[in-house]
């Protein structure tokens, strides 16, 4: 209390000596004497001493005096040792602590230009340390673009991460805004050469409004600010400072270090114009240095420029090789496809060429190729070749009128006969349509059966036998010749036994036949027998008629002999007519001819032709059988 009262008094009257002396002296008379003695001794110096004393005792004056030397004193002391730093340390800490507690923004604002670079530096180091990890991460991505990049990396011998960097770093900054944070007014606007920008004032105001809008709408914390707006490949990067905001309009993929540049530039702007920004009243004319400060933000990066020019002129052999490969593959595939198609066409036409087969449709189904059509049951399908082996078939049956098939049906009707060839129709000759040609050698029996077969039902109009030789078996010849011989009858005039000229050819025919017969017969076992019976009509006497009949038979026999017929067993008879008829038919000779086996000599049995035949077929008959006959 006392000191403060004294201070007050000093402040009011700083240099009053009388007042002071009255306090120093005890109030005795000797005090005055002592004072005068001092004055005598020290003179003017005494006054100065008093003043000095007062200055030391008065804190206010003392502070003023020390203030004049305090910084120099600290400097001198600091050179000697660290005691000042030690002494001040806790105080400064306390002071900063207090400042942050009362108003953190002030300190943050003043630290902003310092903190930014420091933080970035540490971030850059962290990032470069993480690059290897990043490399691994990108190496695992397998988008088509990543595959392309991987290919490029392989081609150029660079690491994959390098390629990713090269490819993603194509961008161009079109505009840069420096916006006053408080008002949203534009402080500076730069644009690259050929960019047409619309109304930077409005844009910056709107950008500010958008940021406010987003911050208000989504209740973010006060420190969170919009940092990127993206629309297609256009992107607005926003960097916030305490008093100004930098917004950069970028087209393309911006590099991460561009953001660092933005914040650096923003810091420089704040360093330069920090206070001006705070006191900004809408007059931007003071910020003359801003264009130069902002210009580093206006960059453009083209990845082509980074390419090695030598590399670009190289022949793109990989592309060429791959194109050639692709062309070859396509060509091979096309050829295969054509081949395949050819195979099918070939197969279908082959099928169609088969008589009785008509392919209607070739379908490609899930399970393979399906061939649909009509088929005659007789038609024979050929073995499919490998390329068409897997085909399925769906046939509807029908009767085809193809001559080849008709011929098959005709053949099925006839007994098998070697040496006979049947051809039906001829594709090359339309005249032969419906003409069945029979050629080769056929037996008479076969021919007989052929004539009975209903071949007209199979479309046969004419049968051509021109090339057919009919082979008769001995039995059948003997058979036929015997009947030929037996069929001969010679007519005579009434009462006359001589052979008429008109009848001679019949006898001549008979003679040839007999000779032929004898040639065929197996002369060891078989013997030809002939009986000629002469007959007369009912006129005349029996005696006369007997002589006449016999003469007629003899005459015929003689004629045969004259013709060279050798008969070892010759029989001539006559037969009296039992009728009184005068019909010329009965004035004649009757011929009977047969063959006898030699073993049966002596047995005169008249056997029917069929019996002779069957006996020859069955083998030799027993004598009992013969006797029974």
């Amino acid at each position: 209390m006392e000191s403060s009262a004294r201070e007050a008094s000093i402040q009011n009257q700083p240099f009053v000596d009388s007042n002071d002396s009255s306090r120093l002296g005890g109030g005795a008379g000797s005090t005055a004497e002592l004072q005068s003695l001092r004055q005598l001794l020290l003179g003017a110096d005494y006054q100065e001493l008093l003043a000095l004393k007062q200055r030391c005792e008065n804190p206010n004056q003392y502070s003023v005096a020390i203030a004049q030397v305090v910084s120099e004193a600290i400097a001198i002391r600091a050179q000697k040792d660290d005691s000042i730093a030690e002494a001040l340390g806790p105080t400064i800490e306390g002071a900063i602590d207090l400042s942050i507690k009362s108003n953190p923004k002030a300190l943050a604002d003043s630290l902003y230009p310092v903190m930014g670079p420091a933080i970035r530096k540490s971030i850059v180091e962290t990032i470069s340390g993480m690059l290897d990890g990043f490399n691994q991460a990108v190496e695992q991505s397998i988008s088509p673009r990543a595959i392309g990049w991987r290919f490029d990396a392989w081609r150029s011998g660079k690491t994959y991460a390098e390629i990713v960097f090269l490819k993603t770093l194509v961008y161009r900054v079109e505009q840069v805004f420096l916006i006053h944070r408080e008002t949203g007014l534009v402080l500076q606007h730069l644009e690259s050469n050929d960019v047409i920008s619309n109304d930077p004032d409005m844009v910056s105001a709107m950008l500010t409004a958008i940021q406010d809008f987003i911050a208000d709408s989504f209740h973010t914390s006060a420190d969170d600010k919009l940092s990127t707006l993206q629309l297609g490949d256009l992107c607005v990067l926003i960097e916030q400072g305490p008093a100004a905001v930098i917004a950069s309009v970028v087209r393309g993929n911006v590099r991460a270090d561009y953001r660092l540049r933005l914040s650096e530039v923003l810091e420089h702007c704040h360093q330069q114009y920090g206070t001006e920004f705070q006191q900004y009243q809408g007059d931007s004319s003071v910020f003359v240095k801003l264009p130069d400060l902002l210009r580093p933000c206006l960059v453009s990066v083209k990845h082509e420029e980074r390419d090695d020019p030598n590399q670009r002129r190289k022949l793109p052999w990989i592309s060429i090789v791959s194109i050639v490969l692709v062309v070859l593959c396509l060509g091979y595939w096309w050829y295969q496809d054509l081949q395949q198609k050819n195979h099918w066409q070939q197969w279908v036409s082959q099928l169609n060429s088969i008589p009785g087969v008509m392919v209607v449709q070739v379908e490609q189904t899930a399970s393979g190729t399906l061939i649909k059509g009509m088929k005659d049951p007789l038609a024979q399908l050929p073995e499919p070749f490998v390329a068409v082996a897997g085909a399925g078939y769906e046939w509807t049956h029908f009767y085809a009128t193809d001559e080849a098939l008709q011929l098959q049906r005709i053949k099925a009707l006839l007994p098998a006969e070697e040496g006979v060839a049947l051809t039906f129709g001829d594709d090359s000759d339309s005249n032969s349509d419906g003409v069945l040609s029979v050629s080769g050698e056929a037996s008479v029996e076969w021919l007989r059966q052929f004539e009975q077969a209903p071949i007209a039902a199979f479309g046969v109009r004419t049968v051509d036998f021109t090339n057919l030789k009919v082979q008769e078996s001995n039995q059948s010849l003997v058979d036929r010749y015997l009947s030929d011989v037996s069929a001969v009858s010679i007519d005579f005039e009434v009462g006359d036994a001589s052979i008429k000229d008109t009848q001679e050819p019949k006898l001549f025919y008979m003679a040839t036949r007999i000779q032929q017969l004898q040639q065929i017969l197996n002369s060891d076992r078989q013997v030809f027998k002939l009986r000629i019976t002469g007959t007369t009509d009912g006129r005349g006497s029996d005696t006369e008629n007997r002589r006449l009949g016999l003469a007629r038979a003899d005459n015929a026999a003689r004629y045969l002999i004259e013709q060279g017929v050798v008969l070892n067993d010759f029989d001539t008879h006559f037969l009296l007519s039992e009728q009184e008829s005068e019909a010329p038919q009965i004035r004649r000779i009757i011929v009977e001819a047969w063959v006898e086996n030699k073993q049966l000599d002596g047995i005169r049995a008249r056997l029917s032709e069929s019996r002779v035949l069957s006996r020859n077929v069955d083998g030799l008959p027993t004598s009992e059988q013969e006797s029974q006959l």
């Binding site: 408080e182 409005m202 105001a205 809408g282 007059d283």
Partner: protein
């Protein structure tokens, strides 16, 4: 040239957007399209040989459901309070907005526009409202976006006030 940010405040449908359209583009539309968020226009004016670029922030009208976002007011050098006396409750809103603005951005130049003056026969201002308007001690203009009446002077007066401030 200096730039200034100004804001238009008022209840919805009082004619804020119409006033700006009339002032900036000299057109008026009967059709009502409510403003969402904020719309910004600009107009260059010259006051006492000083060129001023006015960035005019047209804020969405306030109603019971949609409160004014005060962050839009930040950095404004002046504001216009718009009321529509054909709907007297818009004036209550006007007083309320004025208080809000003062609280957030302090005492800066302001001007009051009683809009739709072309419909002044439908105006129904109570005595209390008139008194309260007086008490604000701010300039009051009877404007009409439809006829353009007093619209020019509304903006020019505000700009002059801002410059002399």
């Amino acid at each position: 040239m200096i730039q200034k940010k100004i804001c238009l405040l008022g209840a919805f449908s009082v004619g804020k957007t119409s006033l700006i359209k009339r002032y900036v583009d000299s057109i008026f539309e009967e059709k009502y399209l409510t403003t969402v968020g904020v719309k910004i226009d600009k107009k260059l004016v010259e006051i006492e040989r000083q060129k001023v670029m006015m960035m005019i922030w047209d804020l969405a009208g306030e109603d019971d459901f949609c409160k004014l976002q005060v962050s839009y007011l930040r950095g404004a050098s002046g504001y216009i309070l718009v009321g529509d006396p054909t709907r007297p409750h818009t004036l209550d809103r006007l007083f309320c907005l004025h208080k809000k603005a003062q609280k957030n951005i302090g005492n800066i130049p302001a001007i009051i526009a009683l809009n739709k003056h072309d419909l002044c026969n439908q105006w129904s201002l109570s005595f209390a409202h008139r008194e309260e308007l007086e008490e604000l001690q701010q300039p009051i203009l009877n404007t009409s976006a439809k006829t353009g009446d007093q619209v020019q002077s509304l903006f020019i007066d505000l700009a002059t006030q801002m410059l002399s401030n």
